[in-house]
């Protein structure tokens, strides 16, 4: 019974890990950075309005650049 529960919990955890992190952990990390930057700069007026979206934009650009199909090197 407990083994079945543990298996179920593991499967549940794996499902959510795959769903949220999956094969783009850099975007998950970027989200955590966005939260941290937002918390750190919230008291400043204009700076977070520019910096917080900029962090997300840079992250997705970098992740997409990493996801490009690269041509195979000539043998």
């Amino acid at each position: 019974m407990t083994a079945a529960v543990a298996r179920g919990l593991r499967a549940f955890g794996r499902f959510w890990w795959e769903f949220i992190v999956g094969d783009t952990p850099e975007l998950f990390v970027a989200t955590l950075v966005v939260i941290a930057v937002s918390l750190a700069l919230a008291s400043l007026h204009v700076v977070p309005v520019i910096v917080v979206p900029a962090v997300a934009v840079v992250a997705v650009l970098w992740s997409a650049a990493r996801g490009r199909v690269r041509p195979r090197a000539e043998d």
Partner: protein, 250 residues
């Protein structure tokens, strides 16, 4: 309706439409190869479970979780989903990733199901399970988006209604055109939804952590414009290094 509510409706409607097209393809394949009764029962059961999740998780979230914490959590979730959708849509639009092909998925699912033994005339467990799984897995993302956007703005009913409307439109159109689902401009919808989810994600993380957005809710439209402009620049930039482009220039 406020600007943020319009964006909410559009985002949920688009996300639900894309996921339901994918789910409908699987249900059509299950129905064609294993019988319609079991496939439709499987799809209806999955929709019932997804609705129950929205009610059981979404309503307590609105009532019992402090609003700022809720906004940071749902903002983070929306931002992660949105950035992933954007990335995938950019890579597909620029030729670095294959477009989602509903005709191919339909053919593959029918082929797989044809190896699963004889079809039972009344209730076919295989057809039921495949349709249930297809609708449930595709619908989970929609449920997350409905709960996140609905709970953070206190408009769970509006978000659920937008998702249900999209599902209904896809079902009606799917019933009429049957196997023409590959004609749906799925990547363009995915790109649009990615822009909206990312904008909402940034907006709610900022609200929850105390950032003062100029113009309050209206700043969402600025964020949408930023992510849309970024997409307009990123896709041609990525296309320059796509396999087709490199092949044409070498």
């Amino acid at each position: 309706m406020k600007a943020s509510e319009w964006v909410l409706v559009l985002a949920v409607f688009g996300a639900s439409a894309v996921e339901m097209v994918e789910a409908l393809t699987i249900v059509l394949a299950a129905g064609t190869s294993r019988g319609w009764r079991s496939a439709l029962e499987g799809a209806a059961s999955a929709l019932a479970v997804l609705t129950a999740i929205v009610v059981l998780v979404g309503v307590p979230l609105i009532h019992y979780v402090p609003i700022d914490l809720l906004r940071v959590i749902v903002g983070a979730l929306l931002l992660t989903l949105g950035l992933n959708w954007l990335r995938k849509a950019w890579l597909r639009a620029s030729g670095h990733k294959a477009l989602h092909d509903e005709d191919k998925i339909f053919a593959e699912t029918v082929e797989e199901l044809s190896h699963d033994g004889p079809v039972r005339p009344q209730r076919d467990a295989v057809g039921f399970a495949v349709a249930f799984k297809g609708v449930f897995l595709e619908g989970t993302e929609v449920v997350l988006i409905v709960i996140s956007l609905g709970a953070s703005q206190g408009r769970l009913g509006l978000a659920a209604a937008a998702a249900a409307a999209a599902a209904l439109v896809v079902i009606v159109v799917g019933a009429i055109v049957a196997r023409q689902l590959s004609k749906v401009p799925e990547n363009a919808i995915k790109l649009t939804v990615g822009v909206m989810l990312s904008s909402f994600g940034i907006f709610w993380v900022g609200e929850g952590t105390g950032v003062h957005w100029p113009g309050a809710d209206a700043f969402l439209l600025v964020l949408v414009a930023v992510f849309a402009a970024c997409s307009a620049l990123a896709i041609p930039w990525l296309r320059r290094s796509s396999p087709a482009q490199l092949g044409a220039t070498t």
